[in-house]
Symmetry: C2
Subunit: 152 residues, 2 copies
Amino acid sequence: MAPTTFRVARAADLPTILKLLADDAVAQARTGYTAEVSPSVQAAFDEITADPNNELIVGEQDGQVVATLQLTYIPGLSRGGMRRALVEAVRVRSDLRGQRIGEALMVDAMERSRARGCGLMQLTTDKLRHEAHRFYARLGFVASHEGMKRPL
Amino acid sequence: MAPTTFRVARAADLPTILKLLADDAVAQARTGYTAEVSPSVQAAFDEITADPNNELIVGEQDGQVVATLQLTYIPGLSRGGMRRALVEAVRVRSDLRGQRIGEALMVDAMERSRARGCGLMQLTTDKLRHEAHRFYARLGFVASHEGMKRPL
């Protein structure tokens, strides 16, 4: 197995990242699903790249992007002014699952978040994703909260 | 009942906001709990104020701060490049609960988030906060996700 290296995403990675995000039954069932680099997706990418509190990370094997996640570093007044890291849009290429690439991706994200002074990492994961719950539990996450969402 | 008005927090509100955050059994049980304006809390406040993607909101009655929440606007590639709003640290002064101030606070937050182009609002709420779950459900939130957290 080729080693996976992690880095901040570049503009050229965007089509592959969108393919990873789309390669997922839960995502495909949603309204607004698209694998296309539309102007609004490009604008979101540009905003993430320009924002020091947002990082889009990719995992690479032999020069190919095989995994991704987004980190948002959030300042807050609670818990003594503790900064937290929010994780969104975690994906590993479907034909490469079960090789602990996701685990390495998350460990890399935790290291980045600690380096940015975060004392907590949090995420929400669809209640339908039972395998994901076990994955995050193995990484030390506790399902202590309800994740509630509402369209606007 | 005095009407509640909502605005972005100012530096002078910080001690009252911290009292609101501390006036809570779940928060008090946590490590790192403090009602004091420590340097790290002041630094967090300054960072929130300077960051266009973070807003600390207060609700005011007769010139007194009685409610607060934090909004984080998050760009993302999923769902066609949809921006989402994350809500944290929602509090209403304990002696004023049951007067729908929290509802007005959340409706104000939804309006701000829509104005910033967000198509989704999300939050996590401790599984111990049963009353909060009913409150958010009344406001249209669905507990579709597990909220998972991990210290770093």
